[in-house]
Amino acid sequence: MPLKPKVIWIDAIGCNGCSHSFFNLPYLSTLLEKIELLYHPLLDSNEFKIQECDILIVEGAIKNTKKFDSNLIDIIESLFINAKKVIGLGSCASFGGMFGEGLIFNKENYGKFYTCKNKVINLPGCPIHPEWLGYTLEMLIENKPIILDDENRPKEIYSFVSHSGCVRNEYFDWKVDAEDFGTKEGCLFYLQGCQGPFTHSTCNKILWNDVNSKPRAGTPCFGCTERNFPKINLFKTDTMMGIPSKIPLGVTKRAYLTLAGIAKSLTNERLEKRLFEYEKTNNKN
């Protein structure tokens, strides 16, 4: 990489959510000083043109549709060929997401640019966590090697699961399920569809907006970094004969069920009831 890499950020079919998420990166201003941003869909930049760049960031899915005065696929292809490194930003560019196709992978097969997969780094997530892109860009700028997994995702991010660091882990360990929404107590894995135990991400490790995560706020993890996102019935746990059909990564179903059964039989009294409750206030002003 040159001292100040040239970066093109192109928006394909999507919602700009990854751009807006990236705007939450605390060190964005210093990072932007280290690159030459030739084009960005929201930030002030020169007029778009096809040109060479060191890092191409593709946000959104690919689809045969109009873009500028041309075709989206043609534009991506021309940029792709002329880029040294390509970042597939978000689940749309990584796997197709809801709206189209991914760069090197689709939900079930390979993407259009699979043969050039060596220059692609995938950062799935809907949206991406700002730190994921911040880290990737810094590594590229500093010419440091990024270790990738077989879906071209940086291992430093995607070796973890969303479950790691969740404040509801105690409830998971002692097999205390949230019966319903709207409580700070209970694990969302068994009934509410939480995919945290098998979704690759650092959401609960580094937290969103530095403060929280969906499962901490009582919302199940929807597995938005995974290739099949979005699955159907996102608020329900898929089961087979009453048992979750997908279990925590790395254990056998039998091992998981044995452990869960033992945990369930050894009651943790503290976790079986509300942690505390507020008394009714007369705060009607």
Binding site: C15, N16, F68, P127, C203, K214, A217
Partner: protein, 364 residues
């Protein structure tokens, strides 16, 4: 002449007639995703995850509209606590949107300096954090569900949120002086429109969608209306409105005004929240039709749903940009068209963008 407009959460092409002065303009949007079709046959709860992905900047509004439309179909009730907390996070999205729009979208049409971007981000990151404290993350959370909210917040979160508001209020003087700076570069009295306004207190039967491939134009009672901050804040900024009518000055003034209006409103909301109430009341699921009308950052947002055996049979979304940016006729131009008519082309970018356009929303 064709002119491509970028940095509006997507792009639009303007087909302009007139050399120096704009005699007529047609507005064309390119992206289309077909979210409404994508929702068909999905479980109604899945809409709470899919719909925020309509838009990266106002996805939270789509979430709230989705939850309310389903609640309307079920006849579900929610606690006052859940209602107030939803209002709180929705207001934060409006505030964040306006600050980003002001510095990132509007400012560069006249003043190009990176420092304004960083000003916006300093504020917007704090607002995102305030939403995340309550809703888990921002953007793209799904904490509002039929029957209430998923989170069970404590005073720890509310205290943090309140202090973020205090920090943002300190920004007031600076923002208003940047507003004045902007208007040293461009006249105030340009971009006057139809002087017809729409807020969420409307009669839904008077709304008509007219196909204009790939998106739909929207009239109210046969006419095009303006929706958004000026419609909402008109009554609060009477003097400005009387003097400048629906010019770019009033339109931009209303947006800046609304930032601080809503920050104070949010302090008031926080003081009313009774945390002893339930966050969620399980609704009775029925097969029925429902709709919601809410105020999103850019104005009136409508969601309509039909649920049959827990699955979505029909879904329709009308976004504010459809109201403001339709392509009407010479006798009946849309708000943005009228605002551009008879104006000098050199002001085109600013006048067009003062409507705060959301191209991804229109391409839903």
């Amino acid at each position: 002449m064709k002119k491509l407009i970028t940095k509006i959460e997507g792009e639009a092409t303007l087909n302009i007639i007139g050399d120096e002065i704009i005699e007529w303009v047609d507005i064309e949007f390119h992206q289309f995703r077909g979210i409404e079709n994508y929702l068909i046959d999905k479980h109604y709860m899945d809409a709470l995850v899919i719909n925020p992905r309509i838009c990266g900047i106002c996805g939270h509004s789509h979430l709230i509209a989705t939850a309310q439309a389903i609640e309307n179909a079920f006849g579900a009730i929610i606690t006052n606590k859940a209602k107030l907390i939803r209002e709180l996070t929705l207001n934060f999205e409006i505030i964040e949107n306006h600050i980003k729009w002001f510095y990132i979208t509007l400012f560069p049409t006249q003043i190009k300096d990176k420092k304004y971007l960083f000003k916006a981000l300093q504020a917007s990151q704090k607002i995102s954090q305030a939403i995340a404290l309550i809703a888990g993350q921002y953007p793209h959370n799904s904490y509002a569900i039929p029957g209430g909210i998923t989170s069970d917040i404590t005073y720890l979160e509310l205290t943090k949120v309140k202090n973020i508001i205090y920090q943002l209020l300190e920004f007031k003087q600076e923002l208003w002086s940047d507003f004045e700076l902007f208007f040293t570069k461009i006249p105030k009295n340009i971009g006057k429109s139809n002087n017809r306004f729409l807020t969420k207190n409307l009669d839904i039967s008077k709304i008509k969608e007219i196909s204009n491939n790939p998106y739909q134009k929207v009239t109210y009672n046969g006419l095009y209306y303006e929706t958004g901050p000026l419609s909402r804040m008109k009554e609060y900024i009477k003097e400005i409105y009387q003097k400048y009518q629906d010019s770019i000055y009033s339109r931009i003034y209303a947006r800046v005004y609304e930032i601080f209006y809503l920050l104070n409103k949010n302090l008031e909301i926080i003081s009313k929240i009774d945390l002893s109430e339930n966050s969620y009341i399980k609704p009775n699921i029925t097969s029925n039709k429902g709709y919601s009308i809410i105020e999103a950052p850019r104005g009136v947002l409508i969601h309509e749903i039909e649920i049959l055996n827990e699955k979505i049979k029909y879904y329709n979304i009308i976004v504010p940009t459809q109201f403001n940016l339709s392509t009407g006729s010479k006798d009946n131009p849309s708000a943005a068209q009228q605002a551009l008519l008879n104006e000098n082309k050199k002001y085109l970018d600013t006048i067009f963008k003062c409507f705060d356009i959301c191209a991804v929303c229109i391409g839903h």
